[in-house]
């Protein structure tokens, strides 16, 4: 009993040396010597101190050496020796490990000859392998057996398939036992190391299952009745986490999909009996991934559902019984489905499993169940995409689970829950899922607020992305319920005083709010052919959004626009079908009332902070009403706008902008010139407001802009044309009045630069009227313009005088400055392409500032000169 070498190098060199000796003996036909050398090198495999990796290295070398021997044995079989004799002979080897290796080598060689009782030899070999109980050595020995028998079992000798299978299974079971035992070797503190080593060896065990699947080929009955039960039994029996996880995964991977379909319940039942530490959902997930992959690989997936029934015929009967005493509620639910129960339903199998697992393993934590449910949902959506009640059942199940759980959802589950919600979104019928599954919302509402928000966001994104139209009231209600967390304002803040709260909110709301933006987008997805229903949908939406408090400012504008859209649509319809005009008009009026209601709500809820917005919305609505020649309504909205202007707009800048906006809208109105003098009232008021602005520059600009209100111009869109249309609202006298007033204001401004600038602007306006109207009508004539030019020239001289008093500096200005039409300074630095806009006087040298009106004036004069060539009337103006 010579011992093994101390280290790897020695062992390898020893094996190699013995291999060479063995080969030499074989060439000399000295078999006994060769066997002796073999047995000598095999002693290296007895070393108990090797790690699995090193052991494997030795094993590989020895495997190759023994192959040489095996070849010789087969080639010289009947002539030089009889393998049956050799089979006995090698068993005299004193040490068991070399003995068995030799025995297997000879035995397998023997099996390749014709006159061999192969079955007996196989049986004998596998039985004798029991002698090696050391985990690593035993594993490798059996692996050697399995590798060696591979060729003989599959090729030459056609043994009974059943026998082959039994042989492999037996070997597999023994190997697995050894593998599990490896875990308990050595000191306790090396457990982790053991686990690592075992994982390195797992392929040895798995290879058996691969072999099985190769041999089984397509004999399903054999698989179901013989193979699988035995394998699963072993999996359950070994009670080892590593082994169970690995083996179930391998089973899922190596056997054909059809087999899995046929033995689903067996597989699933097995998972119930596993070691509690095994992560069940991993196993189920890999199974489901496999099934889903199978679905994808099919050309005609529907055909397999048919085949399923076929596969499952026999085992179905007992399933029926089970379903009867399973949870009644679920059975009822399922029974009510149109799919008849006698058909094999994959989902039903899993569902049954789920109920069973909750019964048998009540200890299972939430974060393990939820992924399980998730994986089943994957399956359901893949196989039965149209059967949404399945999905609903699953959500409901989760919800009940949660209720049993009774506490807040722990953080570690959040991710799983999130996946549960997010996954359906990636399918085609996500919309149906979220709108028809009651439990979706129920379950969602118990999640943490951040999770809810993130999911709602995903839902909304998805809706917008796919442009899913919402056409049903129930659906909308459901969506509203789902989105509620982001619609309504959390009102748990302590209200100290109204003022501070609103301040808080304001600061919050000034930020761009993507959630609310999505909600606003949702409004545009609401669509129904029928305007009435569409209106109704919008009103429901409005009702939901009303809960949003100050957030209305984000969502209501969208609603109002949606109403506008409807109004225009109705108007278009009424044009097409004049006989129903009355009817349509009534509806339109109703819609305007809704818009007004929205505006009022906005005003009431959000108040001052967004009066600018409300003002604009009113104006726009007024404009629309005007375009539909609904003067009463239009006037009403205008007056609303004025009210807001008067009551709420306090910032001078905003006021100015509002007036400009108002003037622009009013100038385009056409329906207000009626008996009641709406137009007159409105424009007078507008001009009045303009002249009462705080800053003189604003007053001046507002007034000369308002002058346009008395001078309507053509709107080609509604078919007007200068010179053809006769009834333009034009009052030249008032125009001139406005200009003069504006000039007076400009003159009275103390800042010379501004004053000159404004005068040039007024000059520009004058030129406009001069071009667009006859002198007799506009009262803006050559004389007036010439006078204005003179005035400006004089003023500019004064300016330049001022400039000469300054220190002369001829360096080129570093920036170009222009004054905008609202009086703000626009500075463009020469070096950069961007402009800076500010209402304050920029920090520059005075001469540069003076140059602004001067150059503006020069440009205007140049324009007048140019006009002279086009328009003879300009010749009268001398500059």
């Amino acid at each position: 009993m010579s011992a093994y070498s101390d280290n790897m190098e020695q062992a390898i060199s020893h094996i190699k040396q013995q291999t060479i000796l063995m080969q030499r003996s074989l060439t000399q036909k000295k078999l006994m010597d060769a066997l002796k050398h073999c047995s000598d090198m095999l002693k290296e495999l007895r070393n108990p101190d090797l790690s699995p990796k090193l052991y494997y290295e030795l094993y590989i070398i020895i495997f190759d050496s023994l192959s040489i021997l095996s070849q010789y044995l087969v080639e010289n079989h009947p002539t030089r020796h009889h393998l049956a004799d050799l089979y006995e002979l090698v068993q005299y080897t004193g040490n068991i490990l070399p003995r068995l290796y030799l025995m297997l080598t000879v035995g397998v060689s023997f099996m390749q000859t014709k006159d061999c009782p192969a079955e007996e030899v196989l049986k004998d070999m596998i039985e004798m392998c029991r002698g090696v109980q050391h985990p690593i050595r035993g594993l490798f020995l059996r692996y050697y057996l399995s590798q060696r028998t591979k060729q003989s079992l599959t090729s030459d000798i056609s043994l009974d398939k059943k026998f082959d299978i039994q042989f492999i299974i037996t070997n597999f079971i023994e190997m697995n036992k050894l593998w599990v035992r490896l875990q308990h070797q050595g000191p306790l503190r090396e457990r982790d190391l053991r686990t690592k080593e075992r994982k390195e060896l797992q392929i040895l065990i798995g290879s058996n299952l691969v072999r099985l699947s190769q041999i089984l080929d397509d004999s399903f009955a054999l698989y179901r009745d013989e193979v699988l039960p035995q394998i699963l039994e072993q999996v359950i029996q070994c009670r080892d986490v590593v082994s169970q996880t690995y083996l179930l995964d391998v089973i899922c991977q190596v056997f054909p999909d059809e087999f899995h379909l046929g033995t689903l319940s067996q597989l699933l039942d097995t998972t119930l009996k596993l070691n509690p530490d095994v992560v069940i959902n991993k196993v189920v997930l890999s199974l489901i991934a496999r099934l889903n992959g199978f679905w994808d690989r099919q050309d005609d997936p529907n055909a397999i559902i048919q085949n399923l029934n076929h596969l499952k015929l026999d085992s179905n009967t007992d399933e029926e019984e089970h379903s009867a005493d399973d949870g009644e509620s679920t059975a009822e639910k399922l029974d009510s489905e149109p799919v008849s129960r006698n058909k094999f339903d994959l989902f039903f199998v899993f569902w049954k499993y789920l109920t069973k697992i909750t019964e048998e393993r009540p200890d299972l934590p939430l974060h393990e169940i939820i992924p399980l449910v998730h994986s089943i949902m994957l399956l359901s959506l893949k196989w039965y995409p149209s059967n949404l009640s399945n999905v609903d059942i699953l959500y409901k199940f989760c919800w009940e689970k949660y209720q049993d759980f009774g506490k807040d959802i722990p953080e570690e589950c959040e991710q799983s829950f999130k996946e549960l919600f997010i996954y359906p979104l990636s399918t085609d019928n996500f919309y149906e899922i979220i709108t028809t599954c009651d439990s979706f919302q129920k379950l969602l509402s118990v999640q943490s607020i951040t999770l809810q928000k993130s999911i709602i966001n995903s839902i909304l994104d998805k809706m917008v992305e796919t442009n899913t139209k919402i056409t049903d009231k129930q659906h909308l209600d459901k969506l509203g319920a789902i989105c509620e967390p982001i619609i309504s304002v959390p009102n748990n803040k302590p209200k100290t005083s109204i003022l501070t709260v609103s301040d808080d909110l304001d600061s919050e709301l000034t930020f761009f709010n993507p959630e609310q933006e999505k909600l606003a987008k949702l409004v545009h997805l609401i669509y129904h052919k029928n305007v009435d229903i569409n209106t109704e949908l919008l009103l429901i939406c409005k009702k939901w959004y009303y809960n949003g408090g100050k957030q209305l400012r984000f969502t209501y504008p969208a609603l109002i626009t949606a109403f506008w859209k409807l109004i225009r649509k109705l108007h278009f319809k009424s044009l097409k079908r004049p006989e129903r005009k009355e009817d349509y008009n009534a509806k339109i009026k109703q819609l305007f009332k809704y818009v007004s209601r929205c505006n009022t709500d906005l005003f009431n809820v959000c108040g001052l902070s967004i009066s600018d917005l409300i003002f604009k919305l009113n104006l726009q609505t007024a404009a629309i009403a005007d375009q539909l020649t609904l003067s009463e309504i239009s006037y009403d909205f205008f007056s609303q706008a004025f009210t807001i202007f008067e009551e709420s707009l306090s910032d001078s800048k905003v006021q100015f902008q509002a007036l400009v906006n108002m003037a622009q809208v009013l100038q385009k109105t056409r329906s207000l010139y009626n008996d009641e003098g709406y137009y007159d009232t409105l424009i007078t008021r507008c001009t009045l407001h303009g002249s009462k602005l705080l800053k003189k520059t604003d007053q001046c600009r507002a007034v000369y802009l308002c002058s346009h209100l008395w001078w309507a111009t053509e709107l080609t869109l509604i078919g007007e044309e200068e010179g053809v249309t006769k009834n333009f609202f034009r009052e030249g006298k008032r125009v001139l009045e406005c200009l003069q007033r504006s000039l007076r204001v400009a003159d009275s401004i103390m800042d010379n630069v501004q004053s000159c600038q404004l005068m040039v602007e007024i000059l520009g306006s004058c030129c406009y009227y001069f071009i667009h109207g006859d002198e007799s009508e506009t009262h803006v004539g050559v004389k007036y313009i010439a006078g204005l030019v003179e005035l400006i020239q004089a003023n500019l001289k004064g300016l330049q005088l001022e400039e000469s008093g300054e220190v002369q500096d001829f360096t080129a200005p570093s920036q170009t400055i222009v004054i905008g039409c609202d009086g703000s300074y626009i500075c463009k630095t020469l070096s950069s392409s961007t402009c800076m806009v500010s209402s304050k006087i920029p920090n520059v040298r005075i001469p540069d500032l003076i140059a602004v009106p001067v150059s503006y004036f020069e440009r205007t004069l140049e324009y007048i000169e140019n006009q002279k060539q086009v328009d003879y009337r300009f010749n009268a103006i001398t500059t």
Binding site: E88, G94, R130, V132, Q133, H134, R137
Partner: protein, 304 residues
């Protein structure tokens, strides 16, 4: 002795058909022998021993004698070859003699046939450490001076009577042993009596193992005992055969298979002078090198 005195006659003993007869090779026990093995022709119990004695006289010489006889002798030597030759303890249990020729004179070479019919050989030939059982043919030329003697050894095998063995064969050996709270095994050998070419088949069933077993082996022990107390001499030889590597768990069954044919074994023998017994010993060696064993006597016998 032969250096000074050359035998005047060559005596050669040749069994009938000796060349074709089966021979056995027995390890030689004398240190001066040229080969490791001695070859002996093999006879069985009850077989006639016949042959030819050739006496060759040197050319042209006459040899007077007072008669030539041949004898077949069986003897047991319990001296042991290490012991002093003087204390030789030889016991002859069988002597058969016949005269080949009356007293006279040998002039030329003569052949004499001898025939011992159906000789009963009570014991098997055996060569142990302290005991040996020998059979030989002895040709004695009786002379007035020293007799001229020639010996020729042969070997005898006794084959067991099949029918007497058959009766016990069916009974396997079953044992149930253990150390409390530590080890409990059941083992079983298929039978207690084996022929020398037999295979020992059995299994070991581990009911309880708290022991960290390193390996387990089977020893086949031959124990030869001779003499009576207190001067009893005994000798054991054993063959070791590893049957398990590593530590089994509860419920594991380990197969045993030991081919006997390849080993040089001795069947059980019992007589007044000595006996040879065989034992099967199951030895478990744990990781600390401690040995636990259980011996069982088995019976080996020779068959054709």
């Amino acid at each position: 002795m032969s250096l000074f005195y050359k035998n005047p006659v060559d005596i050669e003993i040749l069994f009938d058909g000796e060349d074709s007869r089966k021979h056995v090779e027995i390890p030689t026990n004398s240190h001066s022998a040229k080969s490791l093995f001695d070859k002996y022709p093999l006879f069985e119990d009850g077989e006639s021993v016949t042959g030819l004695v050739t006496l060759r006289v040197r050319e042209g010489k006459k040899l007077e004698h007072s008669g030539i006889k041949v004898s077949l002798i069986g003897s047991i030597d319990t001296t042991g070859y290490n012991n002093d030759v003087k204390n030789k303890n030889l016991d002859t249990f069988l002597t058969l003699s016949m005269d080949l020729c009356p007293p006279g004179e040998l002039v030329h070479s003569v052949n004499y046939k001898f025939n011992f019919k159906d000789v009963e050989k009570r014991f098997e030939s055996y060569l142990g450490k302290n005991v040996s059982v020998m059979y030989y043919i002895k040709v004695t030329m009786i002379r007035k001076s020293a007799d001229i003697v020639k010996l020729k050894k042969f070997w005898c095998h006794r084959y067991a009577n099949e029918s007497s063995i058959k009766d016990n064969e069916g009974k396997p050996i079953k044992l149930d042993i253990g150390i409390e709270n530590c080890l409990h095994i059941e083992f079983e050998y298929s039978k207690a009596q084996h022929t020398l070419k037999d295979v020992i088949v059995g299994r070991i069933y581990f009911l309880l193992t708290r022991l960290k077993v390193k390996h387990m082996e089977l020893s086949l022990i031959k124990r030869e005992t001779c003499g009576t107390e207190p001067n009893q001499l005994s000798d054991t030889t054993s063959i070791r055969y590893e049957i398990m590597d590593g530590s089994p768990v509860k419920g594991e069954t380990i197969p045993i298979r030991l081919f006997l044919g390849g080993y040089d074994l001795t069947p059980n023998m019992t007589c007044n002078y000595f006996n040879v017994k065989n034992y099967l010993s199951l030895v478990i060696i744990d990781e600390d090198g401690r040995r636990y064993f259980k011996q069982t006597e088995i019976m080996l016998y020779r068959t054709m």
